[in-house]
Symmetry: C2
Subunit: 452 residues, 2 copies
């Protein structure tokens, strides 16, 4: 910023526009950075394709009918309403013209002096993009309501079919990937089937649903110690989830999942939680990227050849003190947002910092189901009910807005007491998705309700 402005000091005058900082992406990193620039002598523009900031760690609870979308999403404008140097633009970023110094968006080109790309990550299908329709991932609100629709529809269709094989297929749910998202999804599907749905069906018993958690690597939750991985697997199995370890997937269609060992799983609902890749930011910038598509950045999180372009969050390739990659989690993105705010403010004040970004790992946690979670903070480990309470408190605490905290807290309490799920709505497939895969392809055979 200062470098840039110093290169054309003759243009700086009392009436000159203030430098413009454009932030693309209102996830954890982008919002944290925007907040950190409150009061800075610059015009901050925050661009996102949605009008809301979404609390991604709880998306799986929207997908499993626990919470409503509005419980975990908050209008970006409202979060940042009091910040007078900030403008929010709802637009889809489509590229960066580094020569013209503009971000190209669906609403036209937006010029920048300093650019921060915080565009996050999307699913990676390891070269099998054809799996995407049959096995959607869970990255935003639309994904979550789409999965909710599929999961609830599978039970509805199982209720009406008389074809026993089809019914088994409809009642089989495959979650691929044993990281925190996969563990949480598998546990949550098991709970909704065993408890919330169980009393409401006539022709099928939702408790007989088969839920598989399929992991290619040697254990669940690889970021956690062995004993916590083993605990998670045991708890999931006690909840009726089949945990398949060291079983790579080789094919996914609308009707089945095939494993490397030849196992075929007939299923109507597959959830992808196995891998992510960075957003297109690397391509936009024509920057050097790592294997996951994340931009290689300097110790100050800028592009090596342009100190006015920062990349943060899941779309940046950053190493911690020990040379290990910084994980793609919310606290890491927020720390990068905080750090870049400090760097930019230093430059604006004419006192650029020489400090490098340092990632402080605060811990890992994942919930498994009612009364069970795994938590690791430094050397401190928690499991079971205490871990679960800790997990809940942390997640409620980090929700933006008092109302969301109250709404989520009271919904969880209600669910805990009644075992109900409030948000069991099958709503229309969003138009932005591809055509709905024929997951629930209807059997042509007889129907339970059709009389002989």
């Amino acid at each position: 910023m200062t470098a840039h402005m110093q290169s054309r000091p003759e243009t700086v005058s009392a009436s000159a526009p203030r430098p413009r900082i454009v932030i693309v992406g209102a996830g954890f990193g982008g919002v944290q950075l925007a907040r950190g620039l409150d009061g800075a002598p610059a015009d901050v523009v925050l661009i996102d394709q949605h009008n809301y900031h979404c609390f991604q760690p709880l998306l799986y609870q929207v997908a499993t009918a626990v919470l409503s979308p509005a419980d975990i999403a908050w209008p970006i404008r409202h979060i940042l309403a009091r910040q007078s140097n900030l403008t929010m633009l709802m637009a889809r970023a489509e590229g960066v013209d580094r020569t013209a110094r503009v971000v190209n968006t669906s609403e036209g080109p937006i010029p920048y002096d300093t650019l921060v790309l915080a565009t996050g990550a999307t699913y990676a299908y390891f070269g099998h993009d054809e799996w995407a329709d049959a096995a959607p991932g869970l990255k935003d609100i639309e994904d979550a309501t789409r999965l909710r629709r599929r999961i609830l529809l599978a039970f509805e269709r199982a209720e009406t079919t008389r074809d026993e094989a089809e019914r088994r297929r409809l009642l089989t749910f495959a979650v691929i990937g044993g990281g925190p998202t996969g563990v949480e999804m598998a546990g949550a599907i098991a709970e909704v089937a065993r408890h919330a749905l169980a009393p409401d069906f006539r022709n099928v018993d939702p408790r007989t649903a088969r839920i598989l958690l399929i992991e290619a690597g040697p254990r669940l939750l690889p970021a956690l110690p062995d004993d916590l991985s083993a605990y998670a697997a045991r708890r999931l199995e006690a909840m009726g989830v089949e945990v398949l370890i060291g079983r790579p997937v080789v094919s996914i269609t609308e009707h089945q999942v095939a494993l490397a060992d030849g196992t075929i799983i007939d299923t109507a609902t597959t959830v992808w939680a196995a891998g992510v890749q960075a957003s297109a930011a690397g391509r936009w910038l024509d920057a050097q990227t790592d294997r996951a598509g994340r931009c290689i950045v300097t110790a100050q999180l800028t592009l090596p050849d342009d100190p006015e372009i920062f990349v943060i969050g899941d779309t940046a390739s950053v190493k911690d003190m020990d040379g290990k990659p910084v994980p793609g989690i919310a606290p890491a993105a927020k720390q990068m947002g905080d750090y870049v705010a400090k760097v930019i403010r230093g430059r604006l004040d004419g006192k650029p910092t020489a400090e490098s970004f340092r990632y402080r790992h605060q811990g890992d946690l994942a919930t498994i189901g009612r009364n069970a979670a795994v938590v690791k903070l430094g050397h401190f480990e928690l499991t079971g009910f205490l871990g679960w309470m800790f997990w809940g408190l942390v997640h409620v605490y980090f929700l933006i807005g008092t109302r969301n905290r109250l709404a989520v807290g009271s919904t969880w309490l209600w669910n805990y007491v009644t075992n109900q799920r409030a948000a069991r709505l099958i709503t229309a497939e969003p138009a932005t998705s591809g055509p709905e895969p024929q997951n629930g392809a209807r059997p042509v055979g007889e129907r339970t309700l059709r009389r002989a």
Copy 2:
């Protein structure tokens, strides 16, 4: 039912199937009837295209970002889970084959002994179906989230355009129809613009939004006495709504609404609340219908030529004691559901009732905005804050499920205190709707954010 079974007594044996009562539609009438048949010696099948019962009177609050869809919708299976003689089928009814005595649905044909059609109403565009895309109505959850999307997007697009005429168009909202839905929508849009959105925008002032309520007839709320109509109009005008009375609409496009007197209103968001027509039940049955497409039924709510086919709710043409048409409101549908349950139970018990359906009008009420509603119960009238409190209590009371009452009650309290709107999410247009009209057709001119 008895008549039907008596005609083939030789088929009745201990192992004979119990008579099957098929109810199509899980709105207020269908659910009330289903509940009324709890424990009856019959197999009850309730068919609905959605998996949830929706509390339609509060849809306008979903459309204006006050409530979440799950706050006013409840899984049908769950409502009726304890009713062991009932099966719920999520399917779209497509017709009735009266000869074969089956309902044709998306999930195959469903045979019936007794059929009850409670399929409700849809919008009527008075022969102008081409208005439907530009001026959506408000009958289900998808309609409500679609309208929410359009209303919120209009403000987002107004924020980014630099074309002053376009900005005025985007900030103009036309509500057509001065009945309760129109009054409530106009008031709610005015409130969200004046209060919840006002502090969050930079380039536009949402308080300058122009909201028009356009009624062809001589006054608002024609079901209510003159003084209450006048009160509603005064209150709306005090909230900044332009109330146009006696002004029929002659044309609606994506860009404007034209009135019979030649007035052209440039608007990007038009809401249709002017007229409804009955569902297709009359066509399915090849039955005699009134002008609005409602089936003409006997005093027992059956087809004149088939005592085993009932039609109830908004899709039945029924007169009250004074010969006036029974209004298309929730209490009327529920009373018909109760009545038909009694008729069917009487027949099942071999003691058919001779009693006719009698509609008891309980009252009319409509809310206008914060601290203002109109209520008429018999000779008793309420307006202002007391009317508003009464309206709120009645609506919370009739919500299904304690959790929904708590959620809606606490959300209203929160909104009242903070003036915020929690559910300000712009989510994807549902795929089931037609192509999105180019409501927010983007101006090709400059953008506020584009530097000169």
